[in-house]
Symmetry: C2
DNA sequence: ACTAAAACAGACCGATCGACCTGTCTTTTA
DNA sequence: TAAAAGACAGGTCGATCGGTCTGTTTTAGT
């Protein structure tokens, strides 16, 4: 339809896929899955309907890709990697909380944890969603449990107790983030961080 | 349009309003706000479009009514009242968790905390939603903080510390419920309950 | 160079969304 | 008891939803 003109088209399927995923990740995070239309994703990226559906045949497929290729890596980067690499577990957790608080304060608003947000909205909608989201939580807990086992207090605990402690940490973070989002304030995160710090110390999970 | 027939209409505006609110509360809880259509609410209750919009002119108005007339009372009944009436704070919290776990196990699935669910989905959509949801959280925290102040350990704390402890309890519950919903299991709630119990004891919040 | 597949563009589709509107019946008010 | 207001029914509307379709351009395989 268009004459070739001066502008020649250059296909960049991977780049386009990346742009779409980034935009969808951002929109799902900001407004939620159901509240975001395919049209918004197109407008945000400039991609056509044909191209969008070429890469992601359905909206569910797009969401699934967002979960596995954006949300999961985000959780790994912000939570799992620091926990595995930091000198001590309590230092790692304090650092992660501090980093998140810092991000919130410089952004001026709380959009919430991407994993939390999507888990709340999608874990009932589609079994595929639920499984992938659950496996992220599971991986997160495993990393935490393993690190707990390396501490003084954690070494004495059996597998189940370590898993319980890990679940408690994840729960506290998730909940404080929910509260932070609802109140649009970072203080619930700060409170949770300090309470968790005390709890970790008392349990001997510091080193 | 219809002849009078044998059946004479009896208006019951309050009853109809109640039925609509109950159905909407249940549907929003099960599938979320955006995933639930007005049509579903009509079909679930047998109410006509005209009647529905007579009582709730917009979907947002319906959601607002659900929050203030269903979600808030539910939180008061399941959380605030027990906390205020139970013999001790730790007993109250253990009891509330146990009750929720019991409900989940006999239902066989985890739909999540209504306040959590709606807060996640709506706190960004509408400032009116956010304010009403935030005030529920705030009331919840106040009740907890007050009860904390009546304990041995809590009496020594200033207002801010008590609020922080209350926020921590709410956060832990919210997060464990999120985890429970995501994994469709009550065990995160049990883990959080036992960890919280220990924490309460160590802080002197038992009595 | 030729061809088939992949990558894209954009018009188009039925379904459904929330909301509106007219009309009828019921209840309250004067 | 007449009139106004409230309660309710149901058809209808424009907008938007996610998705499809046809056609064109680019790329890869041979």
């Amino acid at each position: 339809m268009r004459a070739k003109a001066t502008r020649s088209r250059k296909n960049d399927p991977e780049g386009m896929r990346t742009r779409v995923l980034d935009a969808a990740y951002r929109l799902f995070q900001a407004r939620g899955f159901h509240a975001t239309g395919m049209r918004e994703v197109m407008e945000a990226t400039g991609v056509s309907s044909g191209a969008l559906h070429h890469h992601f045949p359905t909206k569910d497929a797009l969401a699934f890709a967002v979960i596995t290729e954006r949300v999961a890596p985000a959780v790994r980067e912000t939570w799992m990697d620091p926990i595995q690499s930091a000198p001590s577990l309590s230092k790692a957790i304090a650092q992660v909380f501090a980093e998140i608080v810092r991000g919130i304060e410089q952004r001026g608003s709380v959009a919430g944890c991407p994993l939390n947000n999507l888990a709340m909205e999608l874990s009932f909608a589609n079994p595929q969603f639920r499984d992938s989201l659950r496996s992220i939580f599971s991986e997160w807990q495993s990393v935490l449990a393993e690190r707990i086992g390396e501490t003084r207090g954690g070494a004495r605990l059996d597998r189940g107790k370590r898993a319980a402690a890990a679940a408690f940490i994840v729960s506290t973070y998730s909940g404080s983030m929910t509260l932070a989002k609802a109140t649009q304030s970072a203080s619930p995160l700060r409170m949770a961080a300090s309470a968790l710090s005390v709890w970790l110390q008392e349990r001997g999970f510091t080193a």
